[in-house]
Amino acid sequence: MKYHNLLKTAAAMALMAATAGTATAQDKTMRVRINADIRSTDPGVNRDANSDAIVLHMVEGLVGYRDDASVAPLLAKSVDVSADGKTYTFKLREGLKFSNGEPLTSADVLASWQRYVDPKTAWRCLKDVTGSSVANVTNVTAPDASTVVFTLEKPTALFLATLARTDCGGTGIYQKSSLDAQGKWVKPVGTGPFMLQEWRSGQYVQLAANPNYVSPGGERTGYVGDKTPKVSAVRFMVIPDDAAAKAALYSGDIDVISDVNNADVEEFSASNKLKVDKVASMGLTALLFQTRDPLLKDVRIRKALLLSLDIPQMTEALTNGQSPANLSVIPVPSPYSGKLQKAVPARNIEEAKKLLAEAGYKGQPIKWLATKFYPSLFDAAVLTQAMAQEAGINIEIETLDWATLLDRYTAGNYSAMSFTYSARLDPSLSFDMVSGNKDKSPNKVWDNPEGLKLINESTTIGDDKQRQALFDKLEGMIRTDVPLIPLYSGTRIGAVRANVEGYKTWPVGYPRMWGVSFAQGK
């Protein structure tokens, strides 16, 4: 089995690689807002979304995401998968260099991998490559300076996607000088288009264009293709307050906001100082039920709640019309989001009342957890409360801070809550996100043994049609059980100053500052 689509541009890439890195960057600094300081610069270790976004400007892995969240080679020139699906052979691109000018060889890949799988590193994705959930890598070898071979215990459709995951730091390869003599992380010395210039805690992280960046050429998409920097520096500025960030964008104190509030889109779009770019994202906002709750364990009550809601209207209100309703855990941009996933049941108050009567519901209060940390989660609770009341369902809202809500979610200590999940880029992971044995993982909302079997099966199948059939089956099952009500998968909206060129928002959502420049003469 060969990933033919991973190879088709290899020859062109090699040719362009020699020239792309020599492109001259504008001697200017692009300023980008981040809403909180980063946690570290160690890929996939002590990280959050801001840390991932910045680290992935400096390091690159063997493979990376495209704009549509499919996987393509990055440091690899090609990826061959053996017929039994257990051996992955990565051929590295020629001429790769780290930002300090040292060449990248398969020995660096091995060294980085060994540190990743050392439990002391506390790499986020350790369990995903050492057997417990996605893959079990049993052996990694480097037969020559440009080849790395990974051997898996059994085949999985998710191995490459796991290596590319942003929360895994893209399994970025870094040079040994990234660590000190004691093996402690210092700073990333990678192959990405930028390198760390200065991290001033609580203020900004400044990256400088990497003079040794070697572009693979090809279309700039996701984290792959030509990533040549077009400005000499990028400063990610920590601006926690949305209003201050908005004022800074208008005044020209910053150039890019990668995550604009839905409510600001209309105003930003009308301004001739700004440009707005939006795309459907891969996250999920949903209403979760505790299926072991004395009241909500009755599926008829959960169904009645679903039928009492006008979900398109709720979504319209919650997202200011920016996102469509999506009643599936599979996000809208996914190629697996088909007709079945996009179907939204109509509101039916009479049917809801009938189901409630059958279940013997007599207006007992349902405690609903929400947080104002994400205003849309609180608003979703209020809208649910109002709409469900029409069917005679009595919801009491309890507002918590985000850390407490997350704690209650993890412990499964709630009756119902509004919740938002981070992006999962494969449907198997989307289903896995909500499914599991509640005795072992109380945070899971859907505990259905047959469903779990099918999800597990979906991780081992590579054929798209077979996977789609499995996901359609799972869609039907989860909709029957109603352990949650997905509302929408969101829209990622970016805004830039009018003189910024080349900035593109994408479903994964993180800002990407290579290929972005200021318009000439402005």
Partner: protein, 317 residues
């Protein structure tokens, strides 16, 4: 002098039990807040095993009293631990951020005092006429306006509409002094305006009281000019309570001006504390609160020691 040294030593000694009580309360109250730093770090996809491992790495799996003793022992040795969020030394983080807050607070309170003291004195002198009404109205308005609102309005006007000052960012004075000034003008002015209101009201109230006393009447009867009466007899006596208020204001503000620091994107102590609370970054929360308590105690001690300068009736004894 000997009495003064003894007094300072006694006061400093008394701070120890205060700080110990603060340390105990801070440590245990922070842990009573629901929420788990490990969960916040790992996010919604964390498995129970990963959470347990991270808690163990952070030392959060140990019994809470043991964690307290370990932390207290380190603090006594000057080690406030490391941030759970980014691994940085808590002491260095606090000192770094305190410089930012302290610069803004000290300048703003000094300017506020320079405006409030004469304004309060004049208002008291012209009690109930239009000057007094105008000063009282202005100070009441300034006291009532939320600092974040005033900050945002100033940002909009001077940063956005007029474009005179930067809207976000911070530059240390040690690097580019002139540029640094442009970054702190708006936060300093905002804080100054808010504090002018409080201090003017305080100064006016004290001055009114003094103006009613017999010795003021006596001074006037002697034929002293109103200027001399005010400056020589009223000001020194009325300033003492305002000085106490300045001490309280300084103590409170030096612990952090979180709201203003957020609005103006300043990397100060208040924002460090608020961010740490949201992240359940226990070592930083504990360190910041203990540090804040220490500052409060020290500022009040300094205020008390300066008291005899303004009020000769007060002595160290």
């Amino acid at each position: 002098m000997h009495a003064l040294s003894k007094y300072v030593a006694k006061r400093l000694l008394w701070t120890l039990p205060t700080l110990l009580i603060v340390a105990v309360m801070v440590f245990f109250l922070v842990r009573m807040i629901p929420g788990d730093p490990a969960q916040l770090i790992l996010g919604d996809s964390a498995s129970p095993e990963e959470l347990a491992n991270l808690r163990a790495n952070l030392g959060l799996d140990k019994p809470v009293p043991l964690q307290f003793l370990y932390w207290l022992g380190n603090v006594l040795r000057g080690d406030f631990g490391h941030s759970i969020s980014n691994g940085a030394s808590v002491l260095l983080l606090m000192l770094d951020r305190f410089q930012v807050s302290a610069t803004i607070v000290l300048v703003a309170v000094a300017l506020a005092t320079l405006i409030a003291v004469p304004a309060g004195l004049i208002a008291a002198w012209r009690q109930n006429d239009h000057v007094d009404v105008a000063i009282v109205a202005a100070s009441t308005l300034l006291m009532s306006v939320p600092s974040f609102w005033l900050g945002l309005v100033l940002l909009l006007v001077f940063g956005l509409k007029l474009g005179w000052l930067p809207v976000v960012g911070y530059v240390p004075f040690t690097e580019k002094p002139w540029t640094a000034i442009t970054y702190v003008i708006l936060p300093v002015v905002t804080l100054m305006l808010i504090e002018v209101g409080v201090l003017t009201r305080m100064m006016r109230a004290s001055a009114i009281e003094i103006l009613r006393l017999e010795y003021v009447m006596h001074a006037r009867a002697k034929g002293l000019s109103e200027r001399k009466v005010l400056l020589r007899h009223v000001l020194p006596n009325a300033f003492a309570p305002t000085w106490t208020m300045i001490g309280l204001v300084l103590g409170g503000l030096l612990g952090g001006i979180a709201v203003l620091e957020t609005v103006f994107t300043l990397p100060g102590l208040g924002r460090l504390l608020v961010d740490a609370i949201f992240a359940r970054d226990y070592p930083v929360v504990q360190g910041c609160l203990l540090f804040t308590a220490l500052i409060y105690v020290i500022v009040n001690l300094i205020v008390d020691l300066c008291y005899p300068l303004f009020d000769p009736r007060v002595t160290a004894s």
